[in-house]
Symmetry: C2
């Protein structure tokens, strides 16, 4: 696949991944303001806890049967690594995962437990060492976002949203490397151009907001993005493939603060009974802070939360109930 990702690519991906990815429901959020009803798309209910499974599987399935001979390689410290390892285990492929040597031991152990081989590298080599290994040993790379097949796979989230709620007015999607935002914006705009597709980033990792504002791909230093609690959104910049889709199809990117993100994690658990990681809660935070009207969908992108962090936000007296809880 070359050139921009199309709705046809996304439809083909939906067919390809249907035997493994969960078709997540739209869950109505009961306490929502009647003037701006909200549905949550809980990608946290995927077997690997996040939407990443969709793009990784759409890519890997197209690499078969060659991947059976050569194995696959991926770089990630989070949900992409887990998805590739999980898929490789099911498909009986060799998987090599490149992770930064700063990754928490439990994340490294989780990937190893799925049978993948972990290669630890300094953080500065995380995004490149996989390609070095691919070159040297012939492994097939499964990129986390900068790949048309991966973008098309993530776009199936948008396709499902418009199938289930064809008159959605606003779709809120987290932005990091941009794979999910690019795929969702492409699908939604192709099916209903008047629906607003709004990206959401933490204030502390708002490189994509700056990129869209300036009309060019801007990268932030890792030291800068690593300040946010939303660890899944710390990527230093948009991928080339996602950027082409995002600048065409995404209406805007809004940002949310750290306290808003933590409050959103808490309220999703208590008011929607859904466990979200901070990165997965940014869209709900943006909904709570926003003033857009009509039917909203917030994509809850993942649920791999640190148990201590979740416990902490559940018992924080300083995170008050918002007025529309009443």
């Amino acid at each position: 696949m070359t050139g921009p990702v199309t709705l046809a690519d996304i439809r083909a991906a939906a067919e390809r991944i249907s035997d493994t990815a969960v078709r997540t429901p739209l869950v109505p959020f009961a306490p929502a303001d009647p003037g701006r009803p909200l549905w949550i798309k809980p990608e946290s209910l995927q077997p690997t806890a996040a939407f990443k499974l969709r793009g990784a599987y759409n890519k890997i399935k197209q690499l078969l049967p060659e991947a059976r001979e050569r194995g696959v390689v991926a770089h990630s410290s989070g949900n992409h690594a887990r998805s590739v390892a999980w898929l490789a285990q099911r498909l009986r492929l060799r998987a090599v995962i490149v992770m930064p040597d700063t990754a928490p031991a439990n994340k490294v152990d989780a990937v190893r437990a799925l049978g993948a081989e972990v290669v630890l590298v300094p953080p500065s080599e995380r995004d490149t060492h996989g390609f070095v290994l691919a070159e040297k040993y012939g492994y097939l790379p499964v990129p986390p976002f900068d790949d048309p097949a991966v973008v098309a796979g993530q776009g199936t989230v948008g396709l499902e949203i418009m199938e289930d709620l064809p008159d959605a007015d606003v779709v809120l999607v987290p932005v990091s490397g941009g794979g999910l935002a690019a795929g969702v914006a492409t699908a939604v705009k192709a099916l209903r151009p008047t629906t607003l597709v709004i990206g959401v980033e933490p204030d502390l990792a708002s490189d994509a907001a700056q990129s869209l504002r300036e009309g060019r791909r801007v990268a932030w230093e890792p030291e800068r993005t690593y300040r946010t609690v939303a660890d899944g959104l710390r990527t230093t910049g948009l991928g080339v493939v996602p950027w082409e889709q995002i600048r065409r199809h995404l209406d805007e990117i809004v940002t949310v603060g750290e306290e808003q993100i933590l409050d959103a994690v808490r309220r999703l658990a208590l008011d929607a009974r859904l466990v979200a990681e901070p990165s997965g809660a940014v869209t709900f935070a943006a909904y709570l802070a926003g003033e857009t009207t009509g039917k909203h969908v917030a994509i809850l992108s993942g649920g791999s939360v640190n148990p201590e962090l979740l416990a902490r936000v559940l018992t924080r007296p300083d995170l008050q109930e918002a007025p529309h809880d009443r």
Copy 2:
């Protein structure tokens, strides 16, 4: 409706409640043993946090338009109260909720916030005072479980399970007053008699297990059932209507301990990204402890968990990971 609840009653209920109740998905539980795969039916995703909405709505809809004149009355300290209050607010009915004066202030406030009138009574009058008020003021009672329309409404959970997984081998359902267990067992057995339908109770509130064993409806003293952390399963005995269905259609009732219930709450949050209240987690606890084979479904009946309790189980070092997490 008189006589036993039938599959036709449950199908009619499904049609009746489809404009309001969420058709919850079956969520595959990824870490399950391949020999006994598990799907979770998360009724916690209903707008009122529990399956209770189904039965209450099936009942109330059949009371319209008379209920518009007379109002409705219900007794409950938990999810049934919340469901009736929420439905009454949407349907613009007067609702009176009888609650024990021992109910936590936040639960009373939540019901009041939905516009219902709360009448506090001593715990011993909780189950009868609603009928006194109905007699005196003409309110129409919406019983929590001992009513054919309520049982038929809860049975839609079983209908959906068999539509989504027609070859399910084992369905695990919590038992308290018995409305859910009766409805689910009726639906499942009518559609596939070989599927095992297993009720689950806390050891500390296992009046229904004793009833099924002895072939007669046994009641336990409130002081006895109130020892379990599973506050939604503290009802003192099965209802008459549910009992008739349960003794015919439920294969067995198993029980789980308090530590198993808390561990299940923790693992549902971290491994399935679903917030469960202790009562909602008993089926998952039974699955983890069980030895049945084939395709399992565990009904997660509700998610109104106390935030402090959830925070506590998330950080308890003594609740160890089970071996098949690895």
